[in-house]
Amino acid sequence: MPLVKNGMIATDALIHVPDGAELPGDGAVLVSAARFLENPEALLQRAGKTGVIWPNNRDVDDLVPFLDRLAVVALVFPTFRDGRAYSQARLLRERHGYDGELRATGQVLRDQFVFMLRAGFDAFEVKKESDAGAFALTSKRYSVFYQPTGDGRLTALHRRMQQRHSESAGQ
């Protein structure tokens, strides 16, 4: 499953460590929320970076105390119909100020890239090679946005107000 990061296909620096499997001595790891919460300090004090796979039915509040020490939060789309992780992503970015990698995992198709980028995701485990290849194109598909989110894109309402100001200043 290709990983798209910063708009390009990248190699995954994190090793997915299944529950019960032994952790490598060093190196970056991605573990489940359950494993992480068993002993967060032990994991965070390791030499390598830590990433957590956070399920979409668990309140992100439980993760908040650790956010500034996490390298990756991976949110889950069990099917692309299940949109809970969009809310989790916005809460992590916009309310809790998380600025590490926010990764979309599960059934990730090109048709969600714009929504995901707007919600704050910056890394994508894409299900199909062809969709990963189409990332650059599809993520620029839209140039107009109606809703303000934390991604910094100007909304249509905002642009209209700017236009008004520049028009009246020019008179």
Binding site: S87, V114, F145, Y146, M161
Partner: protein
């Protein structure tokens, strides 16, 4: 009318191109039908019994003549020459070809029409009062707020994959023509003690398998806060709405399971955490949207022009005028409702020829504007009264002057088993038969206001729960049966109808309705006691007795 600017136009064109890519990937096999299903649903494309069905949004029920002509063009070029207006201010085409859909969408986009989110588990077309902006006594034009909400909900990055579909309706009148109490969120514009404009917010209304009347979650939300408050509701729903069972996934179930107080407290917590955000609408932003609505330059006209006095001698004109012409907020003007319920016709259907002719009449008589109401009728919202006699003649020629508005043959019906793959039973032939039974105008007028609503399955697209008489098609051992409810209503006093007894077979439905109506005529206290008021006074008992005594 709201005029799209360059930004609005760009966005819908970008959406058309995205959809073109999705269709291409489906046709090439790159997308499975399962993957494509959600994508097409996001853009109003259903797979029906015979073909793809294409549902197009008519936001808050406002159309320009140019847009209506374009709908006629789509009906003619891509479909079979007609369209079906729905209960949610949409129009549906039933015979569209998948490969041609992107072109049809592109044609529509040229006149500012789209099909975004007319199906799928997202925020649907925002509906409003079809008399918005022209009804006497309105707080203000609810379309300003409807448009703000349309933009806010369009391609929302957080709420495009909700547990289930989500519908908004807005009214600004004391008399609710938008059925806000049966929507996921209902908004009633009103003013607080300080004279500021805001909304009573209702939540959790809806029909379907488990019908609920919406409950007030907050009596007053200031206009500037409405988007953040709505976002708080949607965020709570997105996270906690049930996803394990499609029949329990609507927000009404979450509200019901938590209780309105607990749900309201969750929303309040969420709202307080984000109310002072970029979603706050300052006056300048609201004014910006308001400024892009254009209004007719009304003339100073007499209340009773000569043309109208003269035409009053024609009993057929008078019959139509009394039935279909309504008071406008400006003296000398009228709102004209156009019945899409001719005797023997499928409710809500209009042909391409009718649409084209009506667009011309709208230009001539109604400042180029047409409205679509949830009763599946159309309206011309600004007709100078002096033009009414000529308009009537022209409407009659195109079969849009049936004087049965709000009467027993003004039936709301879903497409039913004739088209729909979800249906258990036919709706249209039941409606057609009823319009024949009640074709006599004098009888219909004697009966008075009576709304019959028909759904071909439990999903309740025909809003049967809130019909004065509701008819629900069910299947029993491979045969079509119909459950009959009475006493429902969809207005400001919304109520769910009560079942009168066991379901009846297809062939008996019209007889049963006739029995119910006859019982009402015998039971009503006075001629102006409406059917629904008689049911309220007496309960279903006497009607049940009448219907089942001989069955």
């Amino acid at each position: 009318m709201y005029a799209y600017d360059e930004l609005d136009r760009t966005l819908i064109n970008e959406r058309v191109e995205e959809f073109r890519d999705q269709v291409k990937r489906r046709l090439s096999g790159e997308l499975t039908e399962d993957e494509f299903k959600m994508l097409r649903l996001q853009n109003g494309v259903y797979l029906q019994l015979h073909a793809y069905m294409f549902r197009i949004a008519i936001p808050y029920g406002t159309l320009s003549s140019k847009q209506l002509r374009r709908l006629a063009h789509v009906a003619r070029r891509y479909d079979r020459g007609y369209g079906h207006f729905t209960t949610r201010q949409n129009i549906q085409f039933n015979w569209i070809k998948l490969a041609e859909l992107p072109d049809a969408l592109a044609d529509l986009a040229e006149v500012g029409i789209h099909a975004m989110q007319t199906s799928g588990n997202n925020t649907r077309n925002v509906t409003s009062d079809q008399w918005a902006g022209v009804a006497p006594g309105e707080i203000e034009d609810p379309r300003i707020w409807s448009e703000l909400l349309r933009q806010y909900t369009t391609l929302h990055p957080e709420f495009s994959f909700l547990p289930r579909k989500f519908k908004f309706a807005i009214t600004a009148s004391a008399h609710d023509r938008a059925a806000i109490k049966i929507h996921d969120i209902g908004l009633r514009l009103h003013r607080n003690a300080q004279g500021e404009t805001g909304f009573e917010v209702l939540v959790g209304g809806g029909l379907g398998r488990t019908p609920f009347i919406g409950k007030t979650i907050k009596p007053f939300v200031h206009g500037r806060d409405i988007l953040s408050y709505v976002e708080a509701i949607l965020r709570v729903y997105n996270q906690y709405g049930r996803r394990d069972n499609i029949y329990k996934a609507r927000i009404k179930i979450l509200v019901h399971e938590l209780g309105i107080d607990k749900f309201a407290a969750e929303v309040e917590d969420e709202w307080l955490a984000m109310r002072d955000s970029a979603l706050t609408l300052d006056d300048a932003v609201i004014e910006e949207i308001r400024s892009r609505f254009s209004y007719p330059s009304y003339e100073n006209l007499p209340h009773m022009p000569e043309e109208l006095k003269k035409a009053a001698h024609d009993p057929l004109f008078e019959r139509w005028r009394k039935n279909s012409v309504f008071t406008h907020k400006i003296q000398g003007y009228a709102i004209v409702t156009l019945s899409l319920k001719p005797v023997g016709g499928p409710p809500g259907d209009a042909t391409a020829e009718q649409m084209d002719a009506l667009a011309d009449l709208a230009d001539k008589y109604s400042f180029g504007e047409i409205r679509v109401g949830h009763e599946q009728n159309l309206a011309l919202p600004h007709v100078a009264k002096r033009g009414l006699p000529a308009l009537w003649k022209a409407l009659d020629k195109i079969r849009l002057a049936t004087p049965n508005v709000n009467l027993v043959s003004d039936i709301i019906a879903c497409p039913g088993l004739d088209y729909c793959s979800l249906a258990n039973a036919r709706s249209i032939p039941i409606a057609q038969e009823l319009t024949r039974r009640f074709a006599n105008h004098d009888t219909a007028e004697l009966i008075g206001r009576l709304h019959i609503n028909i759904s071909g399955c439990i999903n309740a697209c025909g809003h049967h729960h809130v019909g004065h008489i509701g008819i629900l098609g069910v299947e029993k051992n491979g045969e079509e049966f119909y459950q009959i409810t009475i006493g429902g209503r969809a207005d400001e006093n919304a109520e769910l109808g009560v079942l009168i007894g066991p379901a009846v077979p297809y062939g008996e439905v019209a007889d049963v309705v006739e029995d119910i109506v006859e019982a009402y005529l015998a039971l009503r206290e006075r001629p102006d006691e409406l059917f629904v008021d008689t049911v309220k006074r007496l309960g279903v008992g006497p009607f049940r007795e009448r219907v089942y005594a001989t069955r």
